[in-house]
Structure formats: structure tokens, C-alpha cells
């Protein structure tokens, strides 16, 4: 058996400890060890953005981080951000505008878009496109995603619901 290392992280507010191999990526740790399957894996190479999570407050490609590197860290995944309501408005806008088709890119897209709107709720369409450019979506052609993010930004700015 290869050596196992203890990893203790706080995931969506709850502390968890697992013993894992050094080579286990954070994305596989979340999916396989914790069964948080909302984090998707598309390329394992840092290109597609499907595995995006929040690690210590920063959006991170979880396929590029080893679980052992995240030891002591705080992680939020799409499940947690759904439960605490942080991205509820974005999810509603995505639903109403059909900004998802197969939904595989969607968790990563939502987390990236949420970060963008926190920094700049009045982002223009061009700025939204720029910021989302690390998240690959094969289905939508992006137009509806840009619409949904733009709408949510306007709502957040105006304090409208």
C-alpha cells in the first residue's frame, strides 16, 4: 500500500479528516472521498474550469491542487453555496434564461460568475465574457450565460430581488 497522509479541511462549514495518497487531487478528494459530486472534472489540466471551487476564499481549479496541499484549508463547493443561498439569485437567473443545457460546466460557471459579480456587479457583457473565459461550455454558446450573469449583476446592484 502506498503511504497515506492525513488531510483535515473544512468543507462547506464542516470539518472533515481523511487519509489519502499524496497523488490524490482535490477534485478527486471532493468527489470520491467526500462524495460531493457537484464538482466536475473535464480536463484534469486546469483548462476547462468544470472543477472550480472556492479554497480559502479564492476560486481555484481543484484538479490542479493536491488534497494534501489543501490541508488546513476552507473549501466551498457548489453544494455548500447552494445550501447557504449565496448563489441563489444566479441559479434562478440561469434557470430562467436556460443558461445551462447539460449542466456539466454549470457548477464551475456559477462559482466563477459569482466571484466576478462580487468584484464588479456592473460588469459589461465584454467584461463578463472576459472573466468567464477560463470556463468551457460546449452546449450554450455562452450567450445565455452572459445574459444570466448580466441580469443577476443588475439585480444585485439595484438591490432588487
Amino acid at each position: 500500500m502506498s503511504t497515506l497522509y492525513p488531510v483535515t479541511v473544512t468543507v462547506n462549514g464542516s470539518p472533515v479528516t481523511r487519509h489519502v495518497e499524496a497523488r490524490l487531487s482535490l477534485s478527486d478528494f471532493l468527489r470520491q472521498e467526500l462524495e460531493l459530486t457537484g464538482t466536475h472534472v473535464g480536463c484534469e489540466q486546469g483548462v476547462c474550469g468544470a472543477c472550480t471551487v472556492r479554497l480559502d476564499g479564492r476560486i481555484t481549479r481543484s484538479c490542479l491542487v493536491f488534497a494534501v496541499q489543501a490541508d488546513g484549508g476552507e473549501i466551498e463547493t457548489v453544494e455548500g453555496l447552494s445550501d447557504n443561498g449565496e448563489i441563489d439569485d444566479l441559479q434562478t437567473a440561469f434557470h430562467e434564461r436556460n443558461a445551462l443545457q447539460c449542466g456539466y460546466c454549470t457548477p464551475g460557471m456559477l462559482i466563477t460568475a459569482n466571484e466576478l459579480l462580487k468584484k464588479n456587479p456592473s460588469a459589461s457583457r465584454a467584461e463578463i465574457r472576459e472573466e468567464l473565459s477560463g470556463n468551457y461550455c460546449r452546449c450554450t454558446g455562452y450567450h445565455a450565460i452572459v445574459d444570466a450573469v448580466e441580469t443577476t449583476g443588475r439585480q444585485r446592484q439595484g438591490g432588487a430581488k
Binding site: S82, H95, N98, L100, G103, I145
Partner: protein
């Protein structure tokens, strides 16, 4: 043929048809609570990884797996020879594509490897990482063979024949000669010609291919969880090649992370996984990693076309001829074959136009590259780009505006039914209406004026148009007639439970397009209940009717009609029961909003939950001769025409930076006629996604092989896909010519976007470059190719 001139069934009170209802049942995807196949964990599930050939063509001399077998956690190592005892090989030909030939293909190579990435041995282990450790320790000795990588020389004498028993490297050839092309060219004032090339590219679904096969030996049952578009087709093939009773095989498609034609084929590694499960008597999972996706997911579109077109000074096109050459893989893909794309090019090219002299030839050759097969819009992007490209050349040659040339030659809107050069009938299209709408929507004249002004300042903008037809809703003439068990019909079963809730199980499948949503809309409308009361079940061969699935833009046109018919009959059955309960004539009643009402006054008479309560719990109170039936199945297959045709037109506006060769896509407009639109927002989503997929092939995506058949860019960093920043907004409008073959009248819209985009983008770039006497004709149009066209590199 049904009469849908009144559209009564579609216009019912509270109809959901034609409304942009948000898709039910997708909030879970937004919360990360979907179930994609990779999310499924079964007891005793083992994982397989494959040792894959590094060579494009070689004989396998020996396989040494001793070291791999020592790795702790490795369960079993299986070679092609051993697996062939469990699974029979297959041959990807269809009998109605005359003369097509291909060699038997095994799940794992037995003697000969024919492309880089073909599986040579399987390592089954406790987890994927251990399986991969085992793969690395397998030693295979190869005797390399000459690699056939160039389609231009594949048929030359002296070129190595990949499968000597077939005699040559020809897989399929198709010719069509209509009218008198030579006379048409003699009569023309100008004959223009060009050679177009299309880069091999692939689907890059965000979710890679994945399968879990669970063979249970006690009852000889096989359950396969598969990310797929055609579960019934696969059920048949697993049974056939494992020598099992088909009834013992169940295929389940949970959430599918994109498909686009990638996930509708029989992949050798997936077949191997199923066979391994049978061999090991336990569940086995295979998930393609991204490298494996690039070397094994089907590729498409590798075509070279030489085309000529004759035109008179007044803009009349007199005739067209072309020669299309395409190099597919070492095998024709099973069971849909690798000949369909070329066949579609022959059938569809120039299809929107009235000219009657047409000579087409397509040749499909075998190469030692990954297999090519049907990918979203199959052949259409090539057919559309070559015709639209050469029409623009002709317009330039006679000095006429490209929109005018189209107006002059597009089939008139009152000329239907119209028999095309292919011999197929267009029931009803709307080219001129679409053209007019497009030019107005984009302010064509304004853009032309702006273009002229900017040119003065050295800014090169271009406008490109692409008129198109799309073939959808294939009848049994497409595959069934060629001997493949690929169903052209679909079925829907609707069931009302005691509380008035309705469950619809459909044989069409959901991969994100919204098949479940349109089924819910149609069933809710035709039964007469709120959409919240409808649940849709799809993607499970055990619980849905037998059917084709979702491909060839067929789900709405065929599965939607079955849903309409089933829902109507359920409503009728409810009216009969309610009539007995109310002592009223059934025809005086209707079902609206989950309530039985008087048809004339709309007065509420009986809740559906009351009908359900009596039927399921107090049947004793109903008349003795009334057996209530609240489950109804209906099926539909297109009969009137072998194919449905849709039409549309696209325009791109681009700006070319003549110093860097970079093309900026400024805007795209689409006018589409897909007949009855069930959900405009979903149709627009299909068009937009399709357009961007087409743009990918035109501008970015390319599987680059070297002369040795080695794929040079098999990862997402080096294979470019469209990302948000480079892509334009897309404005969409609709015309509607419903098909009368069905009551619903829907024609399908899944692929039209992909069909038109490459041609429209190409024409826009060449329009921008035209004052500089430069032209591109070789997709993808990278900055380097643009600079080459400008003579700058």
C-alpha cells in the same frame, strides 16, 4: 397526413406549446445534485484502464503483463485475444450504402493496431489510479507497418493497404449526376472554381465518455450505465456481441454531460468494458480521460472538396459540380458507418437553390488515424460552406451583391412541394422569407455602407451569408433500411395516478437540449394539466417504450408527436370516465388545468384527483361495462417523407486585423424555420450552441496529425475550443413552416446552427479580405492562415 391548418390541439386553453417555459427538473443540476454516470458507485465496482498503442499502424508481436499483474490492487489483465472469446467483432457497413466495405473490428486489438490510441490490453483494478499504474508496466513489442495518413494518396497503387483482405483502402463512394452540367458550364458567363479544406475536429463534450457495466451472472442480467444518446441501440448491440438475450440487457442513461453525436456510437473501449464485466462477473467502470477522448472519441469533417459553379451575368446559377474526398479511420464506425457524412455532402450541397444541373462525387478512404463518424450536423457544415463559398465567388466574378445572387437563385417560397437534385422532396421551406427577415434584422444596407467607409480608413470588415437546408426526422430509410437496429420511431407512455399527477416515459433521451422539457410541455398541454403535475422519465430501456433516442434533430419532431398523441388519448379516456361519473356526454367535457370542465362554458365539473380516486379506489361505483384506462402508449414514425427538411440563413459580421491575421467575430444573426416551435428559448439555445460549435470548426478546432499518424495536440490546452471571450452575441428570429406529416408540425432544430456557421464565417472573412485580393479556404482559419493569404508570412 393530418390537417393542422387550425392547430387546434396546439392552441388549447393554457397550452404550453410555443412558450419559453423554464426547463423543469434542472434546479438539481444548478445545485450540483445531478447524477452523471461518473457519480454512480456500485458495490464491488472495479475500474479499467487501457494500454493503448503508441503507433498508428503495427503488428502486435508480444504482450508482457507480468510486472503489471504484481501491482497491489490489480485484479486482472486481459488482452484482445482473451476478450475475443467473450465478445464478437463487428463490421461498420450498411447494406443500402452500396459497395461500402470495412474490416471486422475487435473491442481490443488482436493482432494488428490500426491507429494511435487503439486499445491493446485492459488492466482491471480496484481503482483507476492503480489500473493506470498497471498500464504503465505493460510491455508490448510491435512490428511497425507503413502508416497511411494522407487521404490524397490513400488509393494510389503502391500505398500500403491497411486491411489487405479488402483489396484497397476505399470504404465508400457515391456519385450523383443530374441534368447536363457540361452544357450548364458552356452556357455560363463565368465558371468559378475553388478547393476547400476542412480540418478534422471532434466533439470535446465537457463530460468525457463514461460507462459502468454491471453483469450479474446468477440471472445472466447485464445493466449498463452509459452516457449516451441511443440506449436502445446499445442494448441491442451489447446483447448481439456478447451472445446474450436482448431482454436481459438494460441500458440506463442518467444525466449526460453533452453528446453532440459523440455519444451515439459503438466505442471499442466501451464494448471491452461490458465484456470485462461479463468475464469478471462484477461491475466494471471506464471513464475516458481527456487524452483518451482526443484519440478515441470520433473525429469528423476531414474533407477536401474541389468545386466549380457556372453563373450568368444576370446572376442565374446554371450548374455545379464537385469532388469530395474524405479520409476516415481504419474502420468504418459501427453501426452508423463512416460513409454518412460524405453521403450528406452529395445529397445536400446547393440544396437551397433552383439550378438543375448537378454533378457530385464523394470518396471515403481508410486511414491510420482515429475513426471519423457522425458529429453534430453531419456533413451539413461542409455542404453549406462549399456551396455558399462558391456562390460568393460567383457573385464577386459577376460583380453582384451576394444577397442579390441568393435572392435570384433561392427556391421561391411558393414552389413547394419541391423535388431537389437529390431526388428528395422538400415539403415546405421559406428561404425568401428568411432572407428578407435576416437582411432587415441585421440592417444589411447599413452594414455595407459602414463597411465601405471603414475600408477607406484601412479597417477591413466583412459580411458573410449562408443559406441552408437541414435534414431532420429521418424515417426508417436512414438506418433501418440498411439493416441496422436503430429505431426511427419513438414511443411515449403517459400515466395518470390517483392524485391527477401524470408521468410520461419517453424513448427520446435528454442530454441538455430539453427533450424532457418539451415532452412535459406537450403532455401537459394535450392532457390538460399544469406542467408542475407532469414528471418525465427518459433514458432507461427497462421503463420507457422502445425508440431511437435523441440524434439527427429528431427528438421533438418524432418523440414530441408521440407525446402529443399519447396525451390526447389520455385526455379522451379521462373524459369517458368523467362522463360516466357526471352522466354527461364525453364530448361535452374537456380537461383544463387539471380539472374536468364543460367544454362550452369552461365551468369546473370534477377535479382529476376525484377521477383518480374513483378509478383507483372505488371502481365499484363506475358502470360495469367501463374499464377505465389511465395508462396510454402512443408511437410515431415519419411516413409521408423519408426525411424532413428545415431551412434558415445565417450572417456573420467580422473584422480582420491585417497585421496580425486575427479575426474578430463582431456579431451573428440567424433566421431559422424549424416548423412549430415548442419552446422558443430552448430552440434559441440549440441554435446559439450550434453556431458556436460551428465557429469552433471554422476558426479554432483541429486534430493535427503528423505523417506518422501521431496526434500532435491531444489536450485541451493545445486543441483550441471556443471560449466566451472570443464569441459574439447571436440574434435570432424565426419563420414557421410546420410539417403536415404530424399534428405537432415540429421539424427539429438541434443542428442547424452548426450547419450554417462555418460557411457564414468564411464568407465574412473573404468579404473583408476581398479588396486585398486575398482569400482563405482552409479551415480552421488561424491567424497564420489569414496572414498567409495576405502574403505576409
Amino acid at each position: 397526413m393530418s390537417d393542422n391548418s387550425t392547430l387546434s390541439e396546439l392552441d388549447r386553453p393554457n397550452s404550453y406549446i410555443g412558450r419559453s417555459v423554464p426547463r423543469p427538473n434542472i434546479r438539481r443540476l444548478l445545485e450540483g445534485r445531478g447524477t452523471y454516470t461518473d457519480d454512480i458507485v456500485l458495490p464491488r465496482m472495479a475500474h479499467v484502464a487501457f494500454h493503448r498503442s503508441p503507433h498508428a499502424h503495427a503488428m502486435i508481436k508480444s504482450i508482457n503483463s507480468e510486472a503489471a499483474a504484481q501491482v497491489p490492487g490489480v485484479i486482472r489483465i486481459v488482452t484482445g485475444r482473451e476478450l475475443a472469446e467473450v465478445m464478437t467483432p463487428w463490421v461498420g457497413v450498411l447494406s443500402h450504402l452500396a459497395g461500402m466495405k470495412s474490416a471486422p473490428q475487435h473491442a481490443i486489438a488482436v493482432n494488428q493496431v490500426c491507429w494511435q490510441g487503439e486499445a491493446v490490453a485492459a488492466v482491471v483494478a480496484e481503482n483507476r489510479a492503480v489500473a493506470e499504474d498497471g498500464v504503465e508496466l505493460i510491455e508490448v513489442e510491435y512490428d511497425e507497418l507503413p502508416v497511411v495518413a494522407d487521404m490524397e494518396t490513400a488509393l494510389d497503387e503502391g500505398t500500403h493497404v491497411i486491411h489487405p483482405e479488402l483489396g484497397d483502402n476505399l470504404i465508400f463512394q457515391r456519385e450523383l449526376d443530374v441534368g447536363d452540367v457540361d452544357a450548364a458550364f458552356a452556357e455560363a458567363d463565368e465558371v468559378v472554381e475553388e478547393t476547400y479544406r476542412f480540418g478534422r475536429h471532434t466533439g470535446v463534450t465537457t463530460e468525457p465518455r463514461i460507462i459502468i457495466a454491471d453483469y450479474e451472472p446468477a440471472e445472466d442480467n447485464l445493466t449498463v450505465y452509459l452516457s449516451s444518446q441511443a440506449p436502445h441501440m446499445m442494448k441491442n448491440l451489447y446483447a448481439k456481441h456478447l451472445d446474450m438475450e436482448e431482454d436481459k440487457v438494460r441500458v440506463i442513461c442518467k444525466d449526460v454531460g453533452g453528446s453532440f453525436g459523440i455519444k451515439v456510437h459503438t466505442y471499442a473501449d466501451e464494448m471491452a468494458t461490458v465484456a470485462l464485466s461479463k468475464l469478471l462477473k462484477r461491475p466494471v467502470k471506464f471513464l475516458a480521460d481527456r487524452l483518451e477522448s482526443f484519440v478515441t472519441d470520433i473525429h469528423a469533417r476531414d474533407h477536401r472538396v474541389k468545386i466549380r459553379l457556372g453563373i450568368k451575368k444576370d446572376g442565374t446559377i446554371t450548374g455545379m459540380e464537385f469532388d469530395d474526398l474524405t479520409g476516415v479511420g481504419p474502420y468504418s464506425m459501427y453501426p452508423r458507418t463512416s460513409g454518412i457524412e460524405a453521403n450528406q455532402v452529395v445529397v445536400l450541397t446547393g440544396g437551397p437553390y433552383t439550378f438543375k444541373n448537378y454533378r457530385a462525387k464523394a470518396t471515403v478512404v481508410a486511414l491510420n488515424l482515429n475513426l471519423m463518424c457522425q458529429y453534430r450536423a453531419v456533413g451539413h457544415p461542409i455542404a453549406c460552406a462549399i456551396a455558399e463559398g462558391i456562390v460568393d465567388d460567383a457573385a464577386r466574378a459577376i460583380g453582384m451583391d451576394p444577397a442579390e445572387v441568393r435572392r435570384k437563385n433561392l427556391i421561391p417560397d411558393d414552389a413547394y412541394p419541391y423535388i431537389a437534385n437529390s431526388g428528395l422532396t422538400y415539403e415546405k421551406l421559406s428561404h425568401h422569407q428568411c432572407l428578407d427577415k435576416l437582411l432587415e434584422m441585421m440592417d444589411y444596407d447599413g452594414l455595407r455602407q459602414e463597411q465601405a467607409e471603414l475600408r477607406e480608413k484601412g479597417v477591413y470588415r466583412g459580411i458573410g451569408l449562408a443559406s441552408m437546408i437541414e435534414v431532420t426526422n429521418p424515417s426508417p430509410m436512414f438506418y433501418g433500411a440498411g439493416g441496422a437496429f436503430i429505431s426511427a420511431q419513438d414511443g411515449v407512455t403517459v400515466r395518470m395516478d390517483h392524485n391527477g399527477g401524470v408521468t410520461a416515459s419517453t424513448s427520446i433521451t435528454e442530454q441538455g437540449q430539453g427533450a424532457d422539457a418539451i415532452t412535459a410541455q406537450i403532455v401537459a398541454s394535450s392532457v390538460g394539466v399544469d406542467i408542475e403535475k407532469v414528471r418525465v422519465v427518459s433514458g432507461d430501456t427497462e421503463v420507457t417504450p422502445y425508440g431511437g433516442g435523441t440524434w439527427a434533430s429528431r427528438a421533438t419532431g418524432i418523440g414530441g408527436e408521440a407525446a402529443l398523441r399519447a396525451g390526447k388519448q389520455l385526455r379522451q379516456n379521462i373524459k369517458v370516465i368523467a362522463g360516466a361519473m357526471l352522466q354527461a356526454e364525453p364530448d361535452t367535457l374537456d380537461v383544463q388545468g387539471g380539472t374536468v370542465v364543460d367544454i362550452d362554458t369552461g365551468k369546473e365539473r370534477l377535479a382529476l384527483s376525484e377521477v383518480g380516486r374513483v378509478v383507483y379506489f372505488r371502481g365499484d361505483t363506475l358502470p360495469k361495462d367501463l374499464q377505465p384506462e389511465l395508462v396510454v402508449s402512443r408511437h410515431y414514425v415519419p411516413k409521408e417523407f423519408p426525411f424532413t427538411f428545415t431551412n434558415g440563413i445565417q450572417a456573420f459580421h467580422v473584422e480582420v486585423d491585417t497585421d496580425t491575421g486575427f479575426v474578430k467575430l463582431l456579431k451573428c444573426w440567424v433566421v431559422e424555420d424549424c416548423g412549430t416551435v415548442i419552446n422558443p428559448q430552448l430552440v434559441d439555445g440549440q441554435i446559439r450552441g450550434g453556431v458556436i460549435q460551428g465557429v469552433g470548426g471554422a476558426m479554432l478546432e483541429h486534430c493535427i496529425y503528423d505523417d506518422n499518424g501521431q496526434l500532435q495536440n491531444a489536450n485541451m490546452a493545445d486543441y483550441m475550443v471556443p471560449m466566451a471571450v472570443e464569441m459574439p452575441d447571436i440574434e435570432i428570429a424565426h419563420c414557421s413552416s410546420p410539417t403536415k406529416d404530424s399534428e405537432l408540425g415540429a421539424k427539429g432544430a438541434g443542428e442547424a446552427g452548426t450547419c450554417g456557421a462555418p460557411g457564414a464565417v468564411m464568407n465574412a472573412i473573404n468579404d473583408a479580405l476581398s479588396p486585398l485580393s486575398a482569400k482563405v479556404n482552409n479551415m480552421p482559419f488561424t491567424p497564420e492562415k489569414v496572414l498567409k493569404a495576405l502574403g505576409k508570412v
